[in-house]
Amino acid sequence: MKAESRKSDRIAGALLLLLSAGYGLEAMRLQADFLADPLGPRAFPLLLAAALGLFSLYLMIKPDPDPDWPPRRVLAGQLGMLLSFVVYSYALAPLGFLLATTLEMAWLSRLFGADWRRGFLGGLGLAVGLYLIFVFGLGIPLPLGRWWPG
């Protein structure tokens, strides 16, 4: 029988242990000018740091078998999706909601197997629909973009 790999939980445990240490150190630095209660701002975070430290040690000692991480092709798609989310977040104000959303949706549709033409049409429809609902239906302004005249 092949031994199951349990690397994922060990790595997760190590990262969480680091998090609890960093969080705990940051909590130690907290100081209140006056104390309204005997515990102050530090105690609860320190408790949490200690708890997370213990749990993550336990996770490293008794890890579960690794999950099936997605194959490279899927991973590439997920990365492409995440990158586009970052670009979209920055591009929303300058490009405007309609243009940015149409492009983003076309790209995502493509990642999920549509061709460019369908992706663009679907994206455009969705962007216009959401724009109408939010701006005219709900009265929430969405940016038109810096290139929009006026």
């Binding site: 309204a36 975070p45 009265g139």
Partner: protein, 503 residues
């Protein structure tokens, strides 16, 4: 009698045209959201919060809408379970066991009708339970001091840890992670900024909505990327959804028993619709499956889980409303939504804001009737929703998440933060960490810390106050017991197995 008078006032609130419309919209959208594989009730509620917020609805109206989505989704989840063998949400997984075989035998219409009626009975019985129990529970909970509250929250986390997911330690880690997120921002007790790293945007704390949508919706979109196949129904024809009186009567006892099971499991913190439907199904299988027809299209196998998951979503409202301590991911999101409206659920809400609680409860009676009507004749229409291609559906979920979060603060920072939380949520899902405890921790973190500090201020720093009273002792004992429960079960199980081997 007092309860009836209160309920009558609730109906006055729920029967205003706006609230009727919102209950209908919630029920309708909920069925839709439940029917679509990929968006479950949590995602649906989280994505709709910004819209409810933007409409400047009064809190009771917003809650009526969002709760409608929640219990409506339990109706909708069954549609794709029965027609495609793909559960529409986690609570409808069990429904595939007998629902899909029924559809294969050409009894899809019958399965849909029976499950709609079962959902209605389960949902309505749960609202009756909510009406009867909630006021008493609230009255009792008013006596809770800070120490009892702290112990109660520990109990909620530990039951959630022992029930959600396979590994309790992972659920505990997820809870602590959520609690840590809640400590970010200005400390209400001393005015000191904590874990903000000088970022002004974090002074108010981590935005609940950004975390909820990122954690559930964005991580879901990333997960959907993995599945190369998701059932898109090509040729679904459901003529009429009707069930004969004979079939219905044969399932009636299963429906009633499962509703009871579902309600009480729903009330328990941590156990929601998915556990309720599984327990109800196995119970019915043990009780009434004499010919061994369960699993091959037995109507009772469709009725039981559907009655149970709808009853569970009603039951889950009980601790959320009366104690302010939600027991599931979706009720935690509902609680977070109420907090955005400056309403804090808990025992006092029954006295201070009766219109919210009773308006909601009354609207749930109405909503269940609407759902029954929607789901019987219109089920064919909802089934057609399943033909929306994946390349459009998944990007649309992403678009709705982004526009909703952006609408609240117009901030690119929020969008990036949401994406980051989405990645964390995806990794957690993959590695078997449940997500609900994170949101519960985020929603309860402040309250938990405030109660801890209040308790110790009362005792002058003496920690023993946390377990001084009988009630808090009981709660601590229950908390420890529920954490040990999975280990005890496996211990007993292995001993029993050992015994059979000896024989």
């Amino acid at each position: 009698m007092d309860v009836l008078a209160q309920l009558a006032h609730g109906f006055e609130v729920a029967l205003t045209p706006l609230n009727l419309f919102l209950a209908f919209s919630g029920a309708f959208l909920g069925t839709l959201i439940g029917a679509l594989p990929g968006i479950g009730p949590v995602n649906g509620v989280a994505i709709l919060i910004p819209i409810a917020y933007a409409l400047k609805l009064p809190p009771e109206s917003a809650l009526i809408l969002l709760a409608g989505v929640y219990y409506g989704a339990e109706y909708g989840g069954r549609i794709s379970s029965i027609l495609l063998n793909v559960p529409g949400d986690a609570g409808a997984v069990i429904t595939t066991l007998d629902g899909y075989p029924m559809a294969q035998k050409g009894r899809a219409g019958e399965a849909l009708a029976l499950s709609a009626i079962s959902s209605f009975i389960g949902g309505t019985l749960a609202v009756i339970g909510l009406t009867l129990f909630a006021p008493y529970l609230a009255e009792w909970a008013i006596k809770f001091g800070p120490a009892e509250y702290f112990a109660l929250m520990v109990f909620a986390f530990s039951t959630l840890a022992s029930l959600a997911g396979k590994n309790p330690v992972k659920a505990l880690i997820a809870s602590v992670f959520g609690l840590m997120l809640a400590t970010v921002g200005i400390d209400p007790g001393s005015g000191v900024p904590r874990f903000t790293f000088g970022e002004m945007k974090l002074y108010d704390g981590v935005d609940f909505l950004v975390v909820a949508i990122g954690l559930f919706a964005i991580s879901e979109v990333l997960t959907l990327m993995e599945h190369s196949f998701m059932g898109t129904a090509q040729r679904i024809k459901v003529q009429t959804a009707m069930v004969s009186l004979k079939t219905f009567m044969a399932s009636l006892w299963s429906i009633l028993r499962s509703s009871l099971i579902g309600f009480f499991i729903g009330v328990l913190p941590g156990a929601g619709a998915s556990i309720a439907s599984a327990v109800a199904y196995t119970t019915e299988k043990r009780l009434v499956d004499r010919e061994g027809t369960f699993g091959s299209g037995d109507p009772r196998g469709v009725a039981a889980p559907e009655a149970a998951n709808n009853a569970a979503s009603g039951g889950a409202m009980v601790p959320m409303l009366t104690l302010g301590v939600p027991g599931s991911g979706t009720t935690a999101v509902l609680l977070g939504a109420l907090m955005m409206f400056n309403v804090t659920p808990g025992p006092l809400i029954f006295e201070q804001r009766p219109e919210i609680v009773w308006g909601l409860i009354a609207s749930m009676y109405i909503g269940n009737v609407m759902l029954l009507v929607l789901n019987l004749p219109l089920v064919g229409w909802f089934a057609r929703i399943l033909t929306i291609p994946r390349w459009f559906l998944v990007p649309a979920i992403a678009a709705l998440s982004f526009v909703g979060v952006y609408a609240v603060n117009n901030s690119a920072f929020d969008l990036l933060f949401m994406t980051g939380i989405g990645v964390v949520g995806y990794l957690m899902r993959k590695a078997g960490f449940p997500l609900a405890p994170v949101i519960l921790g985020l929603v309860l973190g402040r309250l938990m810390e405030v109660n801890l500090r209040r308790a110790l201020a009362i005792s002058g720093g003496d920690w023993s106050i946390l377990y001084a009273s009988t009630l808090s002792k009981t709660l601590w004992a229950l908390a420890i017991l529920s954490l040990l429960f999975p280990y005890l079960v496996s211990l007993l199980g292995s001993r029993r197995r050992g015994l059979t081997l000896d024989e």
